[in-house]
Symmetry: C2
Subunit: 270 residues, 2 copies
């Protein structure tokens, strides 16, 4: 078991292509077993589970999955229901939709379904999540925060699903101007790497802590571990941040990064 991940994760920055090439969703189906795959869509994050669940079900069927089920788990009582966990057990791939990451953790955290999810992951089942489903992957997750300038206390964080360690993920990254809030997050503990994922872009994280970028835009990794100067413990809420130097890596489709060694590696696959 690695320090970072036990199975495979596909973490998507939201707004993934669902009409043209569907590169990211296609990759999910392939990693989950392709024509042999049994996929479970978890709509816990969204307030429109019927609509969102049906859309992904149709998409994954169209992309060649053998079986697709939607589990609409909207309450903790459902998340503790034995039958529902039994349904999840059959999955070779799990997909978290977008919505609100606090709904995911608030509903699944500490339940039977939450434990089943971890067990599947440890067995090597691929767990995917888009938008809110991406944020929820890590130990500590970003729940909200302003776009714009890096400031203290303009972002809120909470405990996540704990599938990805020592990393904070942000999504819709470049599209919503979130570099400032990601820097504010890692300033609070530079041990944690910041990974900002653009829309229609994802990282496929392997069990050895390496990831590969899949998608049309970029992934930005910020590493504040080399920083020598930070004002995070001194400034008042709302004041502008100081953090220097920070290592930054801008990566696109096919490029990789090693979360353990904190270095990029060159184009490994296409």
């Amino acid at each position: 078991m690695s320090d970072y991940v036990e199975g495979k994760l596909l973490i998507i920055g939201g707004a993934e292509d669902k009409e043209k090439e569907c590169k990211i969703l296609k990759r999910f189906v392939r990693e989950a077993g392709g024509k042999e795959s049994r996929l479970t869509v978890l709509t816990a994050a969204t307030e429109y589970p019927g609509q969102v669940g049906a859309q992904y079900k149709e998409l994954f069927q169209h992309l060649g999955a053998a079986e697709v089920q939607v589990l609409d788990v909207a309450e903790r009582t459902s998340a503790n229901n034995e039958r529902i966990s039994y349904e999840l057990e059959k999955a070779t791939g799990v997909f978290f939709t977008g919505g609100d990451q606090l709904r995911i953790t608030g509903i699944l955290g500490g339940t039977r379904l939450g434990r089943t999810l971890h067990r599947l992951y440890e067995r090597g089942v691929i767990i995917a999540g888009t938008s809110a489903g991406a944020s929820a992957m890590s130990d500590t997750m970003i729940v909200g925060g302003e776009a714009g300038t890096a400031k203290k206390d303009t972002l809120t964080m909470a405990p996540g699903l704990g599938l990805l360690h020592s990393v904070v993920v942000d999504q819709h990254f470049a599209q919503r101007g979130r570099i400032g809030r990601l820097l504010s997050a890692i300033a609070q503990n530079p041990y944690v790497l910041g990974v900002g994922i653009d829309e229609d872009t994802s990282i496929l994280v392997y069990s050895d802590g390496r990831f590969t970028v899949v998608g049309s835009q970029t992934v930005t990794v910020v590493d504040a571990s080399p920083s020598l100067e930070s004002n995070v413990s001194e400034i008042s809420p709302g004041q502008a941040l100081v953090l220097t130097p920070v290592l930054m890596h801008v990566l696109s489709d096919g490029y990789g990064f090693d979360l353990k060694r904190r270095t990029s590696h060159y184009k490994a696959e296409k």
Copy 2:
């Protein structure tokens, strides 16, 4: 004479406070000689020179400048007019307003007034610029470009005033989500440092190539000189960028940076 700058520059990221503390504009007046200062406001960038010029004139008078004149140079014939250059010669501080940076260089470039500006600067007169006036300071300037993901060819550049060397400046930086376009700019030649200045924030650049941050938000320096991997020469227009690793420095009021050594230095002044 330094490799970088000859005199003093005050480069403002736009939307500087004009109502409360007026920290940046006050600093400009002080650096230009305070009660002895003779300021010239150049409204070349704006299409509303009357209104903008009058506003800054009133502000600088209110902040204690001895004399403030507005030079409304809207055409190259005016920029070549001997009397207008003579008027500029008297200034102890020059202020470029916001607007369109191409108006500044299109009107001043290669004229008598442009040469006078450089001469003043070499004599040690402080040259300030906000927004478009900030972008215009460097050898090569950013003229336009999309917010969002770092991509090839989504930004346009042009020759600037040439007062600041080996640097590309971007303004309204965090507020308009411009980290991607600044990274695209420096990827094209990592010899050039990227300096992104937020609103109500400025850098005061000294003749030795050091600068100090003045203002309420942050200044972000991106240095791609350590980068080992870049796809800038391979990708097609619009494709996502790769640039890794990049050094990044997030600085706020009172913190400094050395443009020659490319290192931050700690709080020097307040």
